[in-house]
Each structure stands twice: as C-alpha cells, then as structure tokens.
C-alpha cells in the first residue's frame, strides 16, 4: 500500500494551481461574437451581410456629411464648392432654419414662441413628475392663457377675461352649492358660457381702452414651420385626453342616450380619415358659418385634430376600463362612493395606468399627423420644404431639408416615448 502511495505521491500536487483564464474562445468579446454573431453558418452569413450593408451606408453617408457645405446661398453655389464631390448642402438649413422653425413669425418676436416652449416644460413638470409640490398645478392651469398671449399677442385683457370665465364658474358653484348640488353643477357650466358670450368681449374692450397693455399682435397666417406643428400637436394632445376619457366613460355609461351619442361620435370620427376632417375644416366650415365671419384656420384645424384624437383616446381608455376586473367596480360601489368619486379615486387611476402605452402611441401619431395640414395649404415644415424648393436658389434640394425636419420630429417623439417608459416604470413600482 505504502509503496503504491509512495509511487503516486510524485504525481500529487500539494499546491493549488492558479486559476487559469478561460480559453480565448470562451471569454470576452470573442465568446460574445461566437455566440451572438457567428453561431452557425446561417448567422455568420447574416452577420457578414449586415456588416456589408452598414459599411456601404457609412461609406456613402459619412462623406456626404463630411463634405457638408454651410456657407452657400444657393444650390448652384453649393455645387460649385463641392465641385463634383458628393456632399450635403446644409447652406439651405443655415439660410432657412428660422423659417422651418417659426414660419413667417416676425423675427424680432422669436423670443415669444421660444419662451412659450420653455414655459411649456415648466407647466408640464408638475403634471409629469409627482414629487413636485401640488400647488404648482395652478400655474399649469394658467399656462394656456399665457401661451396664447405669448404666441398671438394682442391685448393682454383677452386671455385675462377668458380665464376669468372659469373664476366666474367657480364662484357660481361656491355660491349655489349650499342650496342644491345639481343646480351648482349647472350654474358652474352655464355661467362661464354666459360670461364668454355676453360679457367677455365688452369687458375686454373696456379694459383695453383703459389700459392698453399687451404684446404686439401676430396674425395666424404668420405661423408656420415647426411652430405650427407644435401648436396644433400640443393643443390637440392636451385637449383630446380629457375629452377622450369623457367619451370612454360615456360609452360605458348605462344611460342609453348618452351611450348612443358617444358611440356614434367615436365610430363616425374613427371611420373617417383625418385628411377628410381637415378638408372639412378648411373648405366646408366656411359655408356653414354666417357670411363674413372668418374663423381662424389654425383654430379650425386644432378643433378637428382634437376630436379626431379624442375618438382614438376614448377607445384606448375603454380598453383600460375593460381590462379592470369587475370586482374593482363593485368594490368602489360597496364603499358607497358616488359615480364620479369611484371613477376618480378607483377606476380611472388604474385604467389610465393600463392605457399609458396606447395613449402615448396615439399622441405620437397625432403629433406626426400634424404634417397632413400641408394638404390644406398651411405651411408646416413639410409645406415649407416645398415652398423653399420653389425659391430658384434652392430648387432641387431634398435630403437636407427632410433630414432636418425628420431630426426635429424625432427629438420630440423620442422624448415623449422616453417619458412614457419612465412613467410606466414608476407606476408599476408602486404596485410591487
């Protein structure tokens, strides 16, 4: 035995071998490459084909951007500078960027839309991030009036008096609530309308004559480019969400008349292409309105875009409502909550959370759909690219303009989509 042992000891190590690195093929980048890119002849072929496509694209795009010409005042000048090489003529962006962004907005007033956009983020912050003080929501509520005044200008008293309508409604509600709840709701609805229709014009006129304050008035036909996309898109988004939620609730309502009206509205609007609604806004509404009234085209478009998006939002939210277990509705009822409280406190928070991806999807679609206004002669970025090409200096230029416009849209849509992912993560964490 001991012999055996004595003979074998020579082969027994008494020290541990140091850990050897894994073979080169089994670690790091090589392993990753082998597993993910070259794991079989099929994947290897696909990888090589993809690499070739990427190389081919870069080989064409890089010199195109690398040779970009900024200091040219016409396409012909660009071509002379490039002298036969392939290159982007970004001089058109330098020459016309202000038009693509602001349309024909007076240059000395560019700060107004810029400020309105900055304030927009300020106004959105309390709505988007729940860790900010809730009081800030009052400032957000004021934002539409501030933005209107910044963008269009005119007498400062018009938005003030319009905002006062809501104050009048709240006052009526306060005064009547102690006596009758239903009457208070009706009064809160009717008095602002009476105020706007009967009193607002006269009051604004009187205040203007006493104190003519305000920014210089900018007409709607000066709006264009990305400004018009943002004005239509953001108004459409912010107005269509509440309208869509109400429509969804109406469609689920037990009241036959209300339900039928909502169903007809949603199905009719969803069944019609947006472009048809835009043509209606630009062509037919003029005939229905009394002669001589000229109703701002941008406003008409905003109304049409809003009801179009609201119909889609309504169906998205209805999906969220349908996804909630029946028990949630019954639980809300068993707590003795009335309809609005149960919706506000129990049903909608859950339903809207489920609907977030669909709602954001609709918003992004709506924002991109604003480019359809080109067909009714509004000069949005796409329309302006056409108009810029009609200038003899820039006739024949395509990619530069479309890449610029595409980049602008991408920034906004990507931002919206990132925020929605943040929101989903945050809300789902609360339920873990």
């Amino acid at each position: 035995m001991s012999d055996t042992h004595a003979r074998t000891t020579a082969f027994v190590r008494d020290t541990m071998l140091p850990e050897a690195p894994a073979p080169i093929a089994q670690r790091g980048a090589v392993k990753w490459l082998r597993e993910n890119l070259f794991s079989g002849w099929m994947n290897t072929a696909l990888t090589l084909a993809s690499l070739y496509v990427i190389w081919w694209l870069l080989a064409h795009i890089t010199p195109w951007f690398g040779n970009a010409v900024w200091n040219a005042n016409s396409l012909a000048e660009c071509r002379a500078i490039l002298d036969g090489r392939s290159g982007a003529c970004l001089g058109v962006i330098r020459d016309r960027w202000h038009q693509l962004l602001f349309g024909f907005y007076p240059p000395q007033h560019y700060w107004r839309p810029v400020l309105a956009l900055v304030l927009l983020f300020g106004a959105l912050a309390p709505m988007l991030f729940s860790n900010l003080p809730r009081r800030l929501l009052w400032l957000s509520a004021l934002y539409p009036f501030v933005a209107y005044h910044l963008l269009w200008g005119g007498s400062i008293w018009i938005p003030v008096v319009a905002a006062a309508g809501f104050g009048v409604g709240a006052l009526a509600w306060r005064l009547i609530t102690p006596y009758t709840a239903l009457g208070a709701i009706l009064a809160a609805l009717v008095t602002p309308i009476l105020w706007w229709v009967l009193a607002a014009g006269a009051v604004a006129g009187a205040l203007t004559s006493v104190a003519p304050l305000g920014l210089e008035f900018v007409r709607s036909d000066r709006f264009g480019g990305f400004l018009i996309s943002l004005v239509i898109g953001i108004s459409g988004i912010s107005l269509s969400l509440p309208l869509g939620v109400l429509l969804a609730l109406g469609r689920k309502s037990d009241m036959l008349l209300l339900r039928s009206v909502c169903i007809i509205f949603i199905e009719f609007i969803r069944g019609v292409p947006l472009i048809t609604l835009l043509f209606t806004a630009s062509l037919l509404l003029n005939y229905f309105l009394p002669p001589g009234t000229s109703f701002d085209l941008i406003l008409r478009v905003i109304i049409m875009v809003t009801i179009f998006a609201a119909a889609y939002i309504a169906e998205v939210v209805r999906g969220g409502l349908a996804a909630l277990p029946r028990g949630q509705y019954e639980a809300a009822d068993s707590l003795g909550l009335d309809y609005w409280r149960s919706m506000r406190l129990i049903i909608l928070p859950q339903a809207l959370k489920i609907s977030i991806p669909g709602i954001v999807n609709t918003f992004i679609g709506l924002f991109k759909d604003t480019t359809l206004v080109v067909f009714i002669g509004l000069l949005d970025p796409i329309g302006l690219s056409n108009a810029i090409r009609a200038d003899t200096s820039w006739n024949g230029i395509y990619w530069e303009l479309f890449i610029f416009i595409g980049a602008l849209f991408f920034v906004f849509c990507f931002g919206i989509s990132r925020y929605s992912m943040y929101l989903e993560r945050k809300l789902s964490r609360g339920h873990r």
Binding site: F279, Y287, P291, A390
Partner: protein, 339 residues
Amino acid sequence: MNKTVLLGSIAAASALVAGAASANTLQEVIDRGEVRCGVSTGLAGFSAPDANGVWQGFDVAMCRAVAAAVLDDPMAVEFVPTTGQTRFTALASGEVDVLARNTTWTFTRDVDLNLRFVGINYYDGQGFMVRGDLGVGSATELDGATVCIQTGTTTELNLADYFRANGMEYEPVPIETNAEAQQQYLAGACDVYTTDVSGLAATRASFADPENHVILPEVISKEPLAITVRDGDDRWAGVVQWTFFALVAAEEMGITSANIAELAQGTDNPEINRLLGTEGELGSMLGLDPEWAIRAISAGGNYGEIFAANIGDGTPIGLARGLNAQWTQGGLLYAPPFR
C-alpha cells in the same frame, strides 16, 4: 382632376350662400386695407416666400399690382397658400379675393364652377424633357419610351391622347409630385418627364447639369394660366382685369417703371395719357382714382419687366417669351384699347 371638380361643385353649390357676403369686394378690400390673394404653396418662379418670408414670383407680382392700384401699397397683400384642392373653394367662400395660382382656364371651371377668369397672364402648354444623350430631337421619336407623369392631372390625359393620335406606345411611371418626378427622372426611372413647359424649365434649372437635358420643341396642349375672381362681382372683376391689361398695355406702349414718372407728366400720346390718368376719367369709371395705373405699373414694372425679373432669360428658370410676347412681337398678349 375629378376631386377638384367635386370640391368645386360643392363650392359652386354653396356660392349662392356665400355670394351675398362678397357682392362688393372692392369696398371690402378698401375697408380691410388688404387684398387677399390665393397663390400656390410654392412654384418656382411663380410664387414662393423668400428667406425673409416675403412672397416673390410672377403670380405674386400680379397680386401686388392689384394691391398697388386699389390700396396704393404693393405690400398690402395677404397671401393665402392654396393647394390644387383648396383653391376654388377658397375663392368661392370669400377666403381670397383673387386667385393667381397658375390655374388653367377651362370650360368647366369657367361655366360650371362659377369662376370668372379675367386675364391670361401666362400661356403655357405641356411639353417633354429628355436626357440629351438619348439623341431624341422630337416628341414623335418617343415611341416605346417610359414617361414620368403626375397622376390625376390633365397632363396625364393629354399624354394618352397625344401618343394615341401619333400611333405610338409608352410606358407610364406614375408619380405624385413634381419633387418626386425630379428624383425619378434623375435616377433614370423614366426616359421622359412631361408637365407644363414652364415647370420643365424650372425643373431643368435645378439640375446639376442642365445642359445635358433637352426640352423637346413640341407643345401638346394649351394651358392658359389665368387670374381668377368670383363670379357675380363685375366691379371687382373689372378692377383686376384692367389692372392686368394696364401692365400688358404699358409694355406695348413702352411705359416702364423707369420712365413712368416722366411719362406721367403728360405726353403727346393720348392713349398713354388716358392710361396714366392725365387725360380722361378711366380711373373713376373703375371706382379708383386717376393714378391707379401709375401705381400698378410702378409696383413691379410692366408685364415684360415682371416676366424678366421672375421667369425670364436672366433668371435661372430662363423661359423665353414665346407665346407670352406682345401681339406686335408675334405673341398672344393683346390688351384691349384704353379708351
């Protein structure tokens, strides 16, 4: 085209309703202090905003002349960009007072849509452009060619008629817009691009190598592009029409923006005197003052000056006068006498 006709019919049907509001356009324009002018959303040489947002072009100049005649300010124009679909309704509904948007004068538009075509400011026609290396010298040699053609336009029908009449075959490549057509043509997707000759010239001017492309001599259709107003307001139609004729007559009589101040002092030529208001009462008959024509001509010059500045030989578009020369030069421009 069908869509246009349909929309136009709606416009016509509703014109009775809207018409009441616009019975006195001249007074409305004076009260508003601004002429509303429908132009295209962008057509090289005819209407386009420049880098400062000021509209420029041949059609635009017509509107400025009207504004100068009526309001004494060529800049007192609100330009309303209109598309092929919205242009006639915009006019019928009163959104614009005058339409200067390369609109072809046709029977149905004039009679059925209740438009009033007051003057042909550009005689256009459909033509063909080919690459020079094809060695084609005439449209009759185009048998078997692939042709880029905008769908849903009269040019499509004209093309079919022309090839059938000449016993030739062609393969259409349907495209939607002029911009797309340029790309397709340059990429070699079609041998021939066909549209109005003015459009071909503007397109060719935008190429890197315009000398390698040929516009064939054949013009296969008549496209009289006219200034248009609403039916039912003869006073306003007269103002627009005679403002245009004043520009044409000024060229014929040799009145330019350079010598007009001198000629307005009075000349030995009674027709010039009548036009410029030093003799007779032509202005007041239109409901304007005697200097109306002086202002209209001073705004952008006479017809020839406007043509030369926007689409003529000296511009990148480089159109020859051709049919748009004065009748004395072998063209079709012919203003009735100012008397």
